[in-house]
């Protein structure tokens, strides 16, 4: 074994997986996991921990894997994270825990994510559950949104003995984990559902089909329904469009719509009723994780797919692993390319996309290299479908219906970074709703901090009233 290299992880062959929705990465088996665990130096001053937004005791859980005790490894993980099987799969490890790993100085870092996934999957397959809460506080807390932020906050509060109810607008809990991230990266039935079951096993109630701000407001929850604190984890679900001509033509979708039809509504599975206009030649505009997911979904639905991004490969915001996988599967990258118009046929359908080539200027004050159009470089990309993946912002449904809840100019809820405290008494917030579209683990970190702050807030309130 070469200690400078990660133990390679088995993956579905690119030729095969381009035609199915099963998980791409197959994960480590016990033997592989133990081998990889040996590469970890179990550093006293483990720098990897600082790179993890929820500060998981990484050498701690890896040590248990090495000993051949994945059950204990899972116990260590669940002290820090409610969704280890999710994070092991979708965290951008290369810029977080693994980026700081000592092993990474000379060779490849320890494969922390894959080990985390191994322990969590083992626990699930072997029926290991997180520990149940001991005491009951007899106090109600409402959590809005069942994405990673809400689930984490709810789980932590339940562990502290609170009576927690999550309110979710959609018919299925999970947030982006169910409607955004596709099956082939994050299996819904086996992984997401069972992690949500673990949160429920702690006593958390989940009420789906409730849109806060419409079905009921935060003020009503607090004044009429006896919730003493509220956590808002409503995400950043409002899609952006470019504002170029032709954008409302038939065949132009937001990545959210395309992915929701396929993931939440399961359009890829013929037993479900929701249709998807998958397209034969698809341009995905954007370069983030969402763009990669949309592109790889369209590919699996049978399309030839271009990713159109206005900067260069270096600036692609998507995880390197996803870009690598996308290329292996045959996605064509049109970099330094910017759409200027969507061409529409006489029936109102997309028939092509006008683009211009870009070049990058020297880095400006912000350190980013600004793309500018090259002169006379316009060309036409022959596509029948365009998926806009330009980012999302928080939905104003909640902020516009809650008295005294401030937002900033990006529609993000104003909240304290450490506690999630908002401008409204008893109301806390975190995740994408506060910082804009970010990552699963940052949302979880925010949910965790808010749970702690809510506990402190409610303890103080009780003391004062005594």
């Amino acid at each position: 074994m070469d200690v400078l290299k990660k133990v390679p992880v088995r993956e579905q062959d690119p030729e095969v997986r381009a035609h199915n929705f099963e998980e791409v990465c197959l994960g480590y088996n016990t033997e592989e996991a133990q081998l990889e665990a040996q590469r970890c130096l179990k550093c006293k001053n483990a720098r990897c921990i600082e790179g993890c937004p929820v500060n998981i005791d990484i050498p701690g859980f890896i040590r248990e894997i090495e000993k051949g005790d994945p059950s204990s490894a899972y116990k260590v993980l669940s002290n820090y994270s409610a969704l280890p099987a999710v994070c092991g799969r979708v965290c951008p490890q290369e810029s977080q825990c693994e980026e700081r790993c000592i092993r990474g100085i000379k060779g490849e870092p320890v494969s922390i994510g894959k080990l985390e996934r191994y322990a969590a999957d083992w626990a699930r397959e072997n029926g290991v559950k997180p520990d149940m809460p001991s005491e009951k506080k007899g106090k109600k807390v409402a959590v809005i949104g069942s994405g990673p932020a809400g689930l984490t906050c709810a789980g932590d509060l339940a562990k502290l003995g609170y009576d927690v109810t999550i309110f979710e607008a959609l018919h299925e809990p999970g947030g982006v984990l169910v409607y955004g991230i596709p099956e082939f990266r994050l299996p819904k039935e086996s992984v997401v559902k069972s992690e949500i079951e673990n949160v429920k096993a702690l006593g958390v109630k989940i009420e789906t089909n409730v849109v806060i701000g419409k079905s009921v407001t935060i003020d009503e929850l607090m004044e009429e329904e006896g919730y003493e604190a509220v956590f808002i984890g409503s995400g950043a679900g409002l899609p952006k469009f470019m504002g170029i001509p032709g954008e409302n033509a038939n065949g132009v979708f937001s990545a959210n719509e395309y992915l929701t039809r396929n993931n939440l509504m399961k359009a890829f599975d013929a037993t479900y009723d929701t249709p998807i206009a998958a397209g034969q030649t698809v341009a995905v505009v954007g370069g983030g994780n969402v763009a990669m997911d949309a592109a790889r979904t369209a590919l699996r639905l049978g399309a030839k797919v271009y990713v159109v991004y206005r900067r260069s490969e270096e600036e692609l915001p998507a995880r390197t692993e996803e870009v690598h996988h996308a290329k292996e599967e045959g996605i064509i990258f049109k970099l330094l390319t910017n759409p200027t118009e969507i061409l529409v046929d006489e029936n109102g359908w997309v028939k092509g996309m006008k683009c211009e080539e870009m070049e990058l200027l020297e880095p400006d004050a912000s350190g980013r290299r600004r793309p500018v159009p090259k002169k006379d470089s316009e060309f036409e990309l022959p596509v029948d479908t365009v998926i806009m993946s330009l980012g999302t912002s928080p939905n104003p449904l909640i902020s516009s219906t809650t008295e005294g809840l401030d937002i900033n100019k990006y529609n993000c809820i104003v909240a304290d970074e450490e506690t999630g405290k908002t401008t409204k008494e008893g109301v806390f917030a975190g995740g994408d709703a506060v910082i804009g579209a970010a990552t699963v683990i940052l949302a979880m970190g925010a949910g965790k901090k808010a749970a702690k702050a809510i506990d402190e807030y409610l303890n103080n309130k009780t003391e004062k009233s005594l």
């Binding site: 018919h171 079905s215 469009f241 719509e257 939905n395």
Partner: protein, 280 residues
């Protein structure tokens, strides 16, 4: 689960259901809608809140059987339950301060128009209800409209009931005869709303159209329901469903409403086959 407490056939293709949904009933206002899923594999479809009873905790929906999902919905009976039922969604009709209005409904759009008519009526406004149907077999809610409006003008394409002609004919005549409306509200097929809008624009009467684009989530998350209004992109589920009719790009909306047609046809055939087999 949301139980079907009552099911009533209004005409061969239009059915009314009363659903047990206390949380929706508590907040429902005219102009708003719900999204339902009949079963686990079903699609999410929006239907207008045709009526509600806050005490009983019920919401009434009226739907026309046009495709696979409405067909499947129609095979459920009293006592059965809907898998999902979420709302109220969208913005309520702005009724405040309007003394005299004309509400123009067409076909099943009349189900959507009815709660709006009722609300204006309850608030003491003078309401002229102009409702149009293809023929007399398709007429719905005639008594309800009569009871809740100052005047009812019933129109049919073939003259088999009410007066022969289009709703725009009736509206034009009323305006020409000197009726002064604070606002015209139009709800029905896109093509009808387009012509109502064209007519009132000529007369400079403020007009609101209730738009019904294809929706998925109904919370502003997918952008599938977008429309061009005054040259700007709007999401009907959160910014609407009612918009200033004179600003709406109806032609674009008509094109967008056909986007899934090939898929819908296939789905409808399959659903019909499915139910045929079960019947036999």
């Amino acid at each position: 689960m949301y139980q079907i407490l009552k099911k009533e056939v209004l005409n061969p293709t239009v059915t009314l259901m009363e659903i047990d949904a206390p949380m929706v009933a508590r907040k429902a206002e005219p102009g708003q809608f719900i999204i339902l899923r009949a079963d686990e594999e079903g699609e999410r479809i929006p239907l207008t809140i045709a009526d509600y009873n806050r005490e009983k905790g019920t919401v009434t929906i009226i739907y026309q059987i046009v495709g696979a999902t409405t067909e499947a919905l129609n095979h459920l009976e009293e006592g059965d339950s809907l898998h999902d039922f979420v709302g109220p969604l969208g913005r309520a009709t702005e009724t405040e301060g309007k003394k005299k209005v004309a509400v123009v409904g067409g076909g099943v759009g009349c189900a959507i128009a009815y709660p709006v008519v009722k609300k204006f009526h309850e608030q003491g406004a003078e309401v002229h209800a102009i409702v149009g149907f293809r023929n007399k077999d398709l007429v719905i809610l005639e008594d309800e409209f009569r009871a809740n409006s100052s005047k009812l003008f019933l129109m049919s394409d073939d003259g088999s009931c009410g007066e022969k002609g289009l709703v725009t004919d009736a509206l034009k005549r009323l305006i020409d005869s000197g009726e002064k409306y604070d606002e015209v509200i139009t709800i029905g097929p896109l093509i009808m709303m387009k012509f109502v809008s064209k007519l009132t624009k000529e007369y400079g009467i403020k007009t609101v159209a209730s738009m019904n684009p294809v929706m998925v989530d109904g919370t502003g998350m997918c952008g599938g329901c977008r429309l061009s209004v005054g040259g700007k992109t709007k999401f009907a589920c959160v910014d609407g469903p009612e918009f200033d009719a004179h600003e709406v790009d109806f032609d674009e909306a008509m094109e967008r409403s056909t986007m899934y047609r090939p898929f819908e046809r296939k789905a409808h055939e399959e659903t019909c086959n499915l139910f045929h087999k079960e019947v036999r």
